[in-house]
Symmetry: C2
């Protein structure tokens, strides 16, 4: 059985921005942490919702019709099929939850596309 | 589409301890907040893991062979089938994630058993 996870300790182990690490699993969902700075890429996930919780800093989740501005302790679930593009002017630390195998850039091929992360 | 969720604002809307409220959904999972104080009841969920993240305070998740001590910003996933009993000496504020319909006291009938909470 795995132990507890301290989110800030795990986040401190990450190199670079938009390079997520998996800290655990909830059934067939992956619990990921990621450091965010700058703009990601517009994409969507046709098969799943996408959970974002801000651990530190501020994160903007751009949607096509509005921006969702998240501060520490705030979460937002992007519904499946909805295009979104995260961005942060300053570094933000984020907990992401989505099904295992969900590709980080969804339906889009991008320089930011990454393989399934490893457990950190 | 629902909006963002500020966890502390939602937690402030709850009456009493071990009375969870649902703040959103991630696919077929419910995102719940709960105020915890005192001891819950020993139980297990045979069909699902159980996600706990401490938003404020300290939470002990008692397992049969050890205690998992969680502080703010720490999470733990109780594996399916594993007996556990949360407790907190002082009030703790917690985010819980599990599939919709998961009973709060799992396999045990208790005075603390509650119906599926409503969306707050």
């Amino acid at each position: 059985m795995t132990g507890k996870v301290n989110l800030l300790e795990k986040l401190a182990m990450l190199d670079g921005y938009y390079e997520p690490g998996i800290v655990g699993y909830l059934n067939d969902y992956k619990l990921q942490v990621v450091r965010v700075k700058g703009e990601f890429v517009w994409h969507k996930h046709d098969d799943t919702d996408d959970f974002f919780l801000v651990v530190r800093g501020r994160l903007t989740i751009q949607l096509r019709d509005r921006d969702v501005e998240l501060e520490e302790g705030e979460l937002f679930v992007v519904p499946r099929g909805v295009e979104h593009c995260p961005k942060a002017d300053e570094e933000a630390l984020v907990l992401l939850i989505e099904p295992r195998g969900t590709r980080n850039t969804g339906d889009v091929d991008s320089d930011l596309t990454r393989p399934e992360p490893g457990l950190i």
